[in-house]
Structure formats: C-alpha cells, structure tokens
C-alpha cells in the first residue's frame, strides 16, 4: 500500500496524522458520552434493575398515551395507575419517604406542562403510601423530533428511578418551531426558551473582557516568565520593587472599577427586578384514591419458579365475598403482563409492550360467591428469561410480589397484590 502511494514517508506520515486525529476525536466523543451518561442513561434502565426491585416496588398498570405520533408543539397525555407494593424490600429506601413523579425521556425532548397524581399537581416532591392506589396523568409538549420510548417513572430518594412500562412515541416536525411561553405574576409574557439568556451572556462577556484586559496588561511586557523569575531571584527580599508605581495605580483603578461595577450592577438589577422570590421547594401531600372495600381476598400459599420451563406456578387461597364468580384474568409482575386469554383480551400497544397475551393458565376454575377455594395459576412465557427476571434466583432475598387482576362474571375488575417467598425448581 505504501508503494502504491508513491511517496511512502509522506503517505505514512499522513496516515499517522490521520490516525492520531481520529483517535483524538474518538477520545473526545467518549469523554462527552461519559460526561452525559448520567443524564441520558436512565431512560432505558428497564431490564437492568434487579427483578426483586422491579417486582416489589411499584406496580404500574393501565398505562395509556393519548397519541403515538405527533409534531413539535403538539401535546401528549401519558396516564395510568400505580400501586406501591406492600412487599417493598426492607433494605431499599421506602417510597413513603420522598418521591417524585417523573417521565423517562432522553433529555428535554418533551417539556412537562402538567403532572398530577390523584388530581394533585406534582410540581414538588411527595410521598406515596404502600398498598394504596394512585392515578397519574402527565401532559407533555413535544420539543425535539425523534422516536422515543416514553416511560412514566417515580424517583425515590435513596433508591433511584422506579421505571414504568414504556410506549413508543414518534415526534415529527421541526425543532426550530418549538415555542414555550409563560406569564409572570407581574403580567409579563416571557419566552421560556430564551428568557434572560441575552442578559446573562452580556454580563458574562463584559466580565470576561474586563478580566482578560487585566491579564493582557501583564502580558504586554512579554517576555515575562523567565525575566521575572530571574529578577525575583536576584532581588530576594526586595522583590516587591518589581511592582512599579504604574502597576499600583493600575491595580487601584481596577479594584475601584470592579467594586463599582458589582455595586452598580446589583443596584441596577434591584431597580429592574424589584419583585423577586426565593426558589420554591417543599413537599405536597397526595391523598390515595378511594376504593370500595375489596370483595376478593387472596393469600399466596406457594410460589415455585421452574427454571427449565420458564414457568411460574403459584398456589392461591381465594375468598370471594362478592356477588358474582371471579377468576384470574392477568398476573402482572415487574412490568411484565401474563394474560389469561380466556378471560381478558389484551393487544400489545407496540413491539416493546411487555404483554404475553395468552400465557396464563388457571386451574380449579372460578371462585363462586361466598366461597373460599385454593386455585393454581401458571404463568409460562419466555419473557421471564428475555426480560432477565430469572436472575431473581440469584438474589439474597428470594421474595416475589405481583398484581392479580380478577374479573367477575359481572365484568368488574378486582385488583389484588400478592407476595411472599419464591422457591426455584431446577429439574
């Protein structure tokens, strides 16, 4: 190859320089990616979390997006329900401490116009009680075109993000068209994309130039480093002679100017913005959703996970105090949904919706009104494996939790959480 290039040394040199350039670029790119990883990586931690953490922290269900295709400036509503698990692991900081309803999207590709839980605005952080039911709703406005896997999530202080099911949303249009406005309490209409920036940039530039001029003043006597180093050494204790009268006068003027600009700038800002408030924070309280007294009571008798068959067998003791026969239509664990096709029809929302539409078998049939009976359910699907739920057998705390959706003959849905120890079956 070198021969073909004609002048081997020049070509080699060029290729070496090229390689160096490419390596530098790659290093730079890597550096930026590493710097930003914490900002973007969170959006797709869905399979990375420990199965126990996914199963027994927050149960998400009935997730809906108002649209899957929209343009910049269009709005989308993400809503659904969640229930913090009663089996929340002891070693994980509780959602009853501090929590914040959030949305998992890469950076501000959407802006959040409103987010509520049980009707209460979630601008601030709050707490959610275990075993209680909450309905959330988030209104977002598309800002950047792209295809996003949008997840509702709850950040729990000390624990991290608890991610809900994702939905693919495609945003078209032009990012430059994005507009976001607000009106201050003083009646001023502001453009949130740019408000205040020109002013901040102007002041920054002013101080930068002013500071630079101080440095340049000392650079002007160039060369400075070696000559000053030598003089300083020669003069010894008298080195202060190196500072001339002109230097002192210059410094005095600069000090006076600097202090005046600070004081002047402060007074100017006070006069321009006489009304300001400190940053706002604090906690809000969200009352749990009211529910009728449950008519289906469930006790988990035994849970065994058969590894070769990717099959979960759960024995349940069900008491039905309602007026119509009930049967299990769905088992939901760690954002995976195992559906009993005989009872409930669920169509996956998109290719990454974690629904196994016909994967739940129920033995020993419907539970009649005022009856207590043991039933057995089997949740068999490769999803246990592909979604890395099987690593639950490697946990030091082999407990599971799941939501059961019972359906009555009258069409009513009953939501019950079960949980307890899990025993793996290896053969």
């Amino acid at each position: 190859m070198i021969d073909a290039a004609g002048t081997p040394t020049a070509a080699k040199l060029r290729s070496r320089r090229e390689r160096l350039r490419r390596r530098t670029l790659r290093m730079l790119a890597l550096f930026y990616v590493l710097m930003l990883l914490p900002l973007v990586a969170d959006a797709h931690g869905e399979r990375a979390q420990m199965p126990q953490l996914r199963m027994s922290t927050v149960h998400w269900f009935d997730i809906e997006v108002s649209t899957t295709r929209l343009d910049v400036n269009d709005e989308i509503v993400v809503k659904g329900s969640f229930m913090p698990s009663r089996f929340w692991p002891e070693h994980v900081e509780s959602i009853e401490g501090t929590a914040f309803l959030n949305i998992g999207v890469p950076g501000p590709s959407f802006v959040r116009l409103d987010s509520r839980v049980n009707g209460v605005p979630m601008i601030r952080s709050t707490r959610f009680m275990r075993g209680e039911l909450y309905h959330f709703e988030m209104r977002l406005k598309a800002r950047k075109p792209g295809r996003y896997h949008v997840h509702p999530l709850i950040n729990v202080k000390g624990t991290g993000p608890i991610i809900g099911p994702g939905r693919w949303v495609e945003v078209g249009g032009n990012a430059a068209d994005f507009r976001l406005e607000a009106t201050t309490l003083l009646g001023q209409k502001i453009d949130l994309e740019h408000y205040g920036f020109a002013n901040a940039a102007w002041w920054s530039l002013f101080w930068f130039v002013f500071g630079l001029s101080w440095f340049v003043y000392w650079l002007l006597e160039c060369p400075i480093v070696i000559p000053r180093f030598k003089r300083r050494d020669e003069l010894g204790v008298d080195a202060d002679q190196m500072i001339t009268k002109a230097d002192r006068r210059f410094a005095f003027i600069y000090l006076t100017l600097t202090l005046s600009f600070i004081v002047g700038g402060y007074q100017y800002a006070q006069a321009s913005y006489p009304i300001t408030t400190p940053l706002q924070t604090g906690r809000v309280n969200v009352p749990p959703a009211e529910r009728p007294a449950p008519t289906v009571k469930v006790e988990m008798v035994e849970a065994r996970y058969r590894i070769p068959g990717r099959s979960f067998r759960i024995e349940l003791k069900v008491t039905n105090s309602g007026n119509s026969a009930v049967t299990v239509g769905e088992l939901a664990a760690g954002n995976l949904r195992f559906v009993n096709a005989a009872v409930s029809k669920v169509v996956p929302a998109d290719e990454d919706d974690l629904v196994a539409a016909d994967s739940l078998r129920v033995e020993n049939g419907p539970v009649q009104p005022s009856e207590t009976r043991n039933i057995v359910i089997y949740a068999d699907d490769a999803m246990w494996e592909t979604q890395r739920m099987t690593t639950m057998i490697k946990s030091p705390d082999a407990n599971v939790a799941a939501m059961l959706f019972f359906y009555g003959a009258d069409g009513e849905r009953h939501i019950v959480e079960i949980g307890g120890p899990m025993i793996p079956v290896f053969g």
């Binding site: 990586a41 740019h194 002013n199 002041w203 920054s204 500071g211 190196m242 408030t277």
Partner: protein, 256 residues
C-alpha cells in the same frame, strides 16, 4: 518537548549570546508555557469545580440563597490561593486569581454549550454558568496593593465569599421573578426546572434553602454572604499555605 525548546543546540553557548537572541528565546518560552498553563488551569479548575459545586452551577434553579453562595467561594478560592501564592512568590505576578477564573469561565461556557445545550438539548438560559471573574480581579488587585498574603487572605478571601451573590444578581434576578403554575407559586427558574424534564435529577435532590422557622428569614442573603466571607478567609489562607508548601518543594527548586 525537548526538541521544540529553542536553546536545544546550545552546548556552544553561542545561541543565547546576544541579548536579542536571548529575548527571542524568552518570548518563545512564554509562547510555549503560557498556553500550557492556561490549558492546565482550564482542566484542573473545571474538574475540581464540577466535583465540588457541580449542579449548583449547572442549573439556574439550583442557585439558592443559602447553599450556592456558601459552597461556591470555598471551592472557588482553591486555585487562586495556591497559584496566587506561587506566581507572586516566584514571579511577582498578581494574575492567578483572574487567570484561573477566566480559564474556569471559558471551560464552563464551552461545556455548557456543547454538552448541555447541543448534546443534551437544554436551553442555554437554564444552564449558563455564573460569573466569578470580578472576584479574581479583587483578589489580584489586593495582593498587588498590599503585597501581603495575610492581608489578601483577609480582605480578598472575605470579599470572595461576600460578593458571589451580588456579583451574580444582575444575571440571576430575571430568573427569580414569580410565576404561577397550577395554583403553585414558582420562580421562573423553578418553572424551567419543572418543564424541561431531567429524568435523573428529580426535584428533591436540589440542595437549596428550605423554609425554616428561624427569625432571620428576611435576611438570608446578607447573612449567608457574611458567613461565607468569614469562612473563606480561613479557606484562602489554607490554600495559600498549600501554595507555600508547593513553592518549597523540590521540583520547583530544581528549576533554579
């Protein structure tokens, strides 16, 4: 680097014989060493600042009245202290305060623009860096006028802490105008923080002033400023002492 040094073919000593040639060699040394120092300051300072101040300087909705003006001067005085001592002691140059902070400022702007704005898509008005250059100027001017590390630590250190907030107020004030959102009063900065989604930075991680029952309520800003000033006197002296230890160390003596 050795090949680049101008005096390399100088075993005969003729290369630096005339003063004009010596001058040229000194200028070349400056041209080599000063950009290197600038790059070094940019690297060290932005890393150190990201580590200690980080989010307080990244986001406009973190610049509160209590923690930001307290943490910032303590972290900001390190390089001016150490290199202020070194450059004054060895070269009688009162530029370290201004130069280190100029370097930090430049690196911050580049990083906010490239990383936070272009790459992560946050609007610039949410992620602009604060300005601190005036503090470096004050430090350098006091050092020059007093010719004393003690006095510079006392007044320079104090003003460093005292003035962070008033210096930045002309930039920050527009963002602390109140707005209303769904029945809650917020500042414009809070509104930006809420609307521009940060998945990994939930509201509760902000270390900002919380409401207290203390009677000082009204005077949070001046109290924090004075407290930060006093604390920063000791802090500046400490870092100058580190500079003194550095100046004594072998690697610097070897150059002489």
């Amino acid at each position: 680097m050795a090949q680049d040094a101008p005096a390399a073919p100088a075993p005969t000593r003729t290369a630096v014989a005339t003063s004009a040639e010596q001058r040229r060699a000194y200028i070349q040394f400056d041209l080599l060493i000063i950009p290197l120092i600038v790059l070094l300051f940019m690297g060290i300072f932005s890393f150190h600042f990201a580590l200690l101040v980080g989010d307080w300087d990244y986001w406009v909705d973190w610049r509160d009245r209590r923690w930001w003006p307290l943490v910032t001067p303590l972290a900001l005085s390190v390089l001016p202290g150490v290199f202020g001592y070194l450059l004054w002691d060895r070269l009688r140059l009162p530029v370290a305060g201004t130069l280190t902070i100029l370097c930090l400022t430049f690196a911050s702007w580049v990083s906010r623009y490239l990383n936070f704005h272009l790459f992560a898509d946050f609007p610039m008005n949410m992620v602009w860096p604060s300005t601190y250059i005036a503090l470096g100027l004050i430090f350098d001017c006091i050092l020059l006028l007093s010719r004393s590390f003690f006095v510079t630590g006392l007044f320079g250190g104090f003003l460093f802490g005292l003035l962070v907030y008033p210096l930045n107020w002309p930039l920050l004030a527009p963002f602390q105008v109140p707005v209303e959102l769904h029945g809650t009063m917020l500042t414009v900065a809070d509104l930006l923080g809420y609307e521009y989604v940060r998945t990994a930075i939930p509201e509760y991680v902000r270390k900002i002033e919380q409401s207290t029952l203390r009677t000082f309520g009204e005077a949070v800003t001046p109290l924090t400023a004075v407290f930060a000033g006093f604390l920063n006197i000791l802090n500046t002296w400490f870092w100058m002492w580190i500079g003194y230890l550095g100046a004594k160390s072998v690697w610097l003596r070897k150059i002489t």
